[in-house]
Symmetry: C2
Subunit: 196 residues, 2 copies
């Protein structure tokens, strides 16, 4: 798997992933019926860096149990396993704090793609000179994401009571998570274990 | 003073206020050199409710020490003393939480215009069915705003360390502030005094 900047040619594959993630309505506070144009305008906005995680081999994402043999077009689309954006969380005096958003194809979950993109993202954020990273809206039921961000040294700095209406669970809390990118050596997300 | 929905005719006056507030670079994380078009696109975005506070009399804002006699056009512009926006803080499952932003003309500060707009805003938010209100970015040096939000029952739910670069004070903290709009009777911002 490699992670690289997204290009125009990736837009169809990104929209496939975006649509399935947002339609579920469980992890993003976005209109589940958002249009392709609005979704791509958001994901490729001015000032936003857009990346994709791509499978190494032609077969990536094809051998999905219960799926019919994929057409060449679908195989190509499925090679994009995930996508993320990195951008300033605010403008002006707030532009030194990064924000990021991650989406992994449903077919490619549980393979560490989110974690690989997150590490890549932290590295890119440092490279671009950001001093901190903030997630504004981590839905408390999204335990896989929260575990990952904690592993990567993000802290929950805020709990927003009932700020998200989950399609099955009703009103649930939302977290703001934050970490500095300064100071200690950048650890690429490998958590230091305290042995004493 | 009255507070009402903004119209196309208010755009010049709003831009005057917006420009002076943002150019100061102390209270909003926006590009201090934002263009008129971008500023008005932000303040009048789809899904955003835009309001203005307007002086009662023709003389409002005219008798400013040190200013030359205002032309009729400027007098008209100066009658707009402040402006605010009210909108969903997120889309989809997060759209029941409101967000708002307030700007008061430098010539009209210290007259309670921000407080009057804030009370109006809370009332409008309830009327529109919002369940809570969140300020994502209250800069810790903006003590007048913080005092006002506390008076209006907002709590600081998060401190974002060094998230804003103040033009004079360097890196300073930013607060996330939040309040429910449910439950107890809506008090229009008059704080109940505990007498025991």
């Amino acid at each position: 798997m490699k992670i690289r900047h997204a290009t125009e040619a990736d837009r169809d594959a990104i929209w496939e992933i975006f649509r399935e993630v947002v339609a579920a309505g469980e992890t993003y506070a976005l209109d589940p019926n958002i249009s392709r144009a609005d979704a791509l305008a958001y994901w490729f906005a001015a000032g936003t860096h857009t990346y994709i995680a791509q499978g190494d081999a032609a077969g990536d994402g094809v051998a999905v149990p219960g799926k019919r043999t994929a057409s060449p077009a679908i195989i190509r689309a499925r090679q994009i396993l995930g996508t993320y954006i990195l951008r300033p969380n605010q403008s002006g005096g707030g532009s030194h704090v990064a924000n990021a958003g991650f989406m992994v194809s449903a077919n490619a979950r549980g393979q560490g793609i989110g974690r690989a993109m997150a590490r890549h993202c932290l590295s890119e954020a440092r490279r671009l000179g950001f001093r901190a990273m903030q997630f504004n809206y981590v839905i408390s039921t999204n335990t896989a994401a929260i575990r990952l961000w904690r592993d990567l040294d993000f802290e929950i700095v805020s709990t927003l009571r009932d700020a998200f209406h989950h399609p099955e669970k009703g009103y649930v809390d939302v977290y703001v998570m934050y970490r500095s990118l300064l100071g200690r050596r950048f650890r690429c997300g490998r958590r230091s274990r305290r042995t004493s």
